[in-house]
Amino acid sequence: MAPVAPRSGDAIFASVEHVNAELFTLTYGAIVRQLLTDLEEVEEVNKQLDQMGYNIGVRLIDEFLAKSNVSRCVDFKETADVIAKVGFKMFLGVGASVTNWDADGTCCSIVLGDNPLVDFVELPDTCQGLYYCNILSGVVRGALEMVSMKTEVTWVRDMLRGDDAFELQVKLLKQVPEEYPYKDDE
């Protein structure tokens, strides 16, 4: 009698406490702005945002699992689906869809319909190389690593750079099997 995994994150999103969306957007904006001042190089800011996201992701996975009742995903396809439909909805309040599967099912794209992080944002000429939402790719990478999936997450389309959607490419590098962690003579 395994609990049934939810099809969408709507119910969970409705049941948790929310923070004001504008406060959230502006706080994130302030963080990125401060990083740009501190680190000066746009590349460094991208890296830092990714690292921050990763640190969030390794913790977020436990909250996700505890609240969503997802107990296992059969394969990477289902995992991607759950991230897009339940994960994004639960934490960001927006739905996402999964497309562009490659032939062997190890690489796909998550397309965000709406992105609350980028309200009020325009990239100035000096920051054209900035992946403003790079924190999200870090979150996905960190969370998946905790369930033993090594992935590579990159932005393919970014509305701030003139594309028509936000598209996150998730590539499964390898799945790490569970092994006995102690050696015999320890």
Partner: protein, 169 residues
């Protein structure tokens, strides 16, 4: 989005059927076999030092899990005994009972293992373990000072855990 402290844990804990002091001890392990929480409420006998005790417990669970998966009569895809499994692969046991104690076990896909040892007459504790996992998320994972993988020293977590465990029947 929630901030720690003051927020209610959802879902609310399953209602206890009778109150009593039934829990002996609890372990929490991560995937690497690190025991980052050990609580003891009622344990008259210690035969090993703490480190050996934790290792033995982890080894017991690990072997039992691969044995139960190997014996599964319903699933086709299983490797040889002892072959590493991917998380979520194979079946898993959730409790066993001896004449002197009962061990309840829960493992999350993120590799957290929660083990609760209680009086042999206690009922199904799967919901209780899930609730303890929620406590862990609320008070430990969301604690910004806590480093993942380090021993848990969160007063708030320990007190709410003690309080909850007392209600388990």
């Amino acid at each position: 989005m929630q901030f720690f402290g003051g927020s209610d844990i959802s879902p609310s804990p399953p209602a206890p059927t009778a109150s009593g002091n039934n829990a002996h001890m609890m372990y929490v392990f991560n995937r690497n076999g690190v025991c980052f929480l050990y609580r003891e409420w009622n344990r008259p006998l210690h035969t090993l030092n703490a480190q050996q005790d934790h290792k033995l417990m982890f080894g017991l669970l690990f072997s039992l899990k691969s044995l139960t998966a190997k014996m599964d009569p319903t699933s086709m895809d299983k490797g040889n005994l002892g072959v590493p499994q991917l998380p979520g692969q194979g079946c898993s046991f959730h409790s066993f009972r001896t004449n002197t104690y009962k061990l309840s076990f829960m493992e999350t896909p993120s590799g957290i293992k929660i083990i609760l040892i209680t009086h042999p007459k206690t009922g199904d504790l799967r919901e209780s373990l899930k609730y303890i996992y929620n406590l862990y998320v609320e008070y430990v994972v969301k604690n910004p000072i806590y480093t993942p993988g380090a021993p848990i020293r969160c007063e708030l977590f320990n007190t709410s855990l003690d309080q909850y465990v007392r209600s388990i029947s």
